[in-house]
């Protein structure tokens, strides 16, 4: 067996693959966080909770209503996104006038509520969600077996990220969105319904988190606390990429997933904290983040 630094190559590739899968989740989550932050100026602490709700929506959909994976991919983000729209309308909207930290605190409270409710209903133990029949098994690449489902997660996530990037950077709707990010009042003066746009943006960002949750359901245990520590990693990812930067969020999500996977091979004890260490280094070296602009 080929080895690199005394570690068998298949083991390294296996961890890199796992890292890339995690990176796909980071990318989807930090993308939603960046889009929401860009337009609303709110750091959405409930992002991990919405990811968890997405996974639970898929789980409950399958167990109770018999909704299969493919429909869950569509319906769960829709349902959770709708919940996001309601939260924006009822709560977040009233906080745009006060300091941004209140948005963070509000969404923290919402995350506590969501996690508490799910813990009361389902308990803390993890639930398993079956891999859909079409995506079971793996390709034999000769040097390692690539599980089809994991490849699908990476493919789906990169596609969705690319589509979101295109929507924001290359379409008329995206142009309005970016303009509203720069100067909401001016855009409103042109007759564009900015509050509606803000509401839908929050819903869309939240739906991305829920989509990540559905994609994650078959590879991790679905549990009420699955999002609470993930959201902190995603915060670090967004800080590294540069707050509000779409490309930064996607690229640093994927890359940091890979780095984390590699750390698991080289020095497993540090794999939980490597992203935070990188964040600290980036902050000292480039306070605005790798892709962020200095104000």
């Amino acid at each position: 067996v080929t080895t690199v630094f005394g570690v068998p190559l298949p083991a390294i590739l296996g961890q890199l693959m796992l890292g890339l899968v995690n990176g796909s989740f980071y990318a989807l989550l930090s993308l939603g966080l960046a889009v929401i932050f860009g337009l609303l100026g709110v750091v959405n602490f409930a992002h991990g909770a919405f990811y968890m709700l997405g996974a639970f929506a898929a789980y409950v959909g399958l167990q109770v209503l018999g909704i299969n994976y493919w429909w869950a991919l569509l319906l769960a983000p829709l349902a959770v996104g709708l919940l996001g729209v309601v939260i924006e309308r009822l709560f977040l909207r009233h906080l745009y006038q006060v300091e941004p930290v209140y948005g963070l605190l509000l969404t923290f409270g919402i995350a506590l509520i969501a996690e508490g409710i799910m813990r009361s209903l389902f308990g803390s133990s993890g639930k398993s969600y079956p891999v859909p029949a079409l995506l079971q098994g793996g390709f034999n690449l000769g040097f390692m077996v690539l599980p089809i489902y994991r490849a699908w997660v990476v493919l789906a996530s990169v596609t969705v990220c690319a589509m979101t990037w295109f929507l924001i950077e290359r379409t008329r709707l995206g142009a309005m969105l970016r303009a509203a990010t720069e100067n909401a009042r001016l855009v409103q003066a042109f007759g564009i319904n900015v509050p509606l746009m803000v509401m839908c943006t929050y819903g869309a960002g939240v739906a991305l988190a829920a989509l990540a949750g559905v994609l994650a359901a078959p590879v991790i245990q679905v549990s009420p606390l699955m999002g609470s520590s993930l959201v902190i990693v995603v915060f670090a990812v967004v800080v590294i990429g540069g707050m509000g930067s779409i490309v930064g969020a996607i690229v640093s999500g994927l890359v940091l997933g890979l780095v984390e996977g590699l750390t698991k091979v080289v020095y497993p004890e540090a794999s939980n904290i490597v992203v935070f260490i990188i964040m600290a280094v980036v902050l000292i070296w480039r306070p605005a983040g790798l892709f962020g602009k200095e104000q």
């Binding site: 750091v43 906080l95 409270g109 508490g116 902190i232 800080v239």
Partner: protein, 309 residues
């Protein structure tokens, strides 16, 4: 002013006779420890508008270090407390130096992320006992003179430390240093243009706050006899924010009242409603942020100010 003296006098009298009112001393001490923690946090949020989302790191790290020094190395109580405080001071210096480079929500996210590093170190390191935490931490004695095993004696010790910390924080806030902090809170660019080294002031406030949070954590470990992962978790970081916000950030008594309300709620509700406690805490968070941003004491002070005007 006279009203203030009356309020403090009544509170001091209540605190002195509390153990004789049939209240469980350990619970009272827990209240005092979290009140101290919230006061330390308030020094940062209330007087410099810096929202640290990782204050459990200093609280918990100090609890672990104090527990480790007493159980494994047999250090005396006072030395172990000072050891714990020194560690949280150092942590505050390192994390603060990185975090004060950014403001507002960035500051919050950075402190949160770096506190998570402390959490994982506590989870994986040998000396913390991993998932089990440290159990059976002895209270020892005050410099070998007064044994602290008795709950009432321990209570008065914790109360004395708490009063000391409370007066110390009041002193800091009213000092020239505190005035500069308030100036930074009001208008940071202007403070910079007046020649103040703003980052250095913020870092000093951060280290002070982290050290006092550590002191609260050390005492908590001694009072309850254990240090666990929940002491360093983001939940605890969130709770201290809630305590401060609910009682009134930027007021002296607010954090004390907030801590009492939150800890009492948790103590009595967790037996009755189980996991719904976090739903209730979350709901209080939402209410506080939406319609009660001044907190209890902030609202009362505003009423008084209006009547006086």
């Amino acid at each position: 002013m006279r009203a203030q003296i009356v309020v403090y006098g009544v509170l001091a009298a209540l605190a002195l006779i509390a153990p004789f009112l049939g209240l469980y001393p350990v619970f009272l001490m827990k209240l005092l420890c979290f009140a101290m923690f919230a006061c330390a946090f308030n020094l940062l949020l209330g007087y410099t508008k810096m929202l640290s989302f990782g204050h459990a790191a200093y609280f918990g790290a100090s609890a672990y270090v104090t527990g480790w020094l007493t159980t494994v190395h047999g250090w005396g109580t006072v030395e172990a407390i000072l050891g714990g405080v020194a560690v949280s001071m150092l942590l505050g210096l390192v994390i603060g130096a990185i975090a004060v480079r950014r403001q507002g929500i960035y500051f919050a996210m950075i402190t949160l992320a770096l506190a998570q590093v402390v959490y994982f170190i506590c989870l994986q390191a040998q000396f913390t006992g991993g998932e089990n935490g440290l159990q059976g931490i002895p209270r020892g004695s005050l410099l070998g003179l007064i044994g602290l095993g008795d709950d009432r004696i321990m209570y008065y010790f914790v109360l004395a430390v708490f009063v000391g910390v409370f007066i110390f924080i009041r002193r800091i806030v009213h000092s020239p240093f505190g005035q500069v902090l308030k100036a930074i809170r009001a208008n940071e660019p202007r403070a910079i243009s007046l020649g103040y080294k703003v980052d250095r002031y913020k870092l000093t406030a951060f280290v002070l706050s982290a050290s006092l949070a550590g002191l609260a954590g050390s005492l908590k470990a001694l009072v309850l006899g254990f240090a666990t992962l929940s002491d360093v978790s983001q939940t605890t970081s969130g709770e201290v924010i809630l305590m401060t916000l609910l009682g009134g950030s930027g007021t002296f008594l607010g954090p004390v009242i907030g801590a009492n309300v939150v800890v009492t709620l948790q103590e009595y509700l967790s037996d009755i409603v189980g996991a719904w406690v976090s739903v209730i805490i979350g709901a209080i968070f939402v209410v506080c942020v939406m319609i009660f941003r001044r907190g209890f004491v902030g609202e009362i002070e505003r009423r008084f100010a209006r009547r006086a005007a």
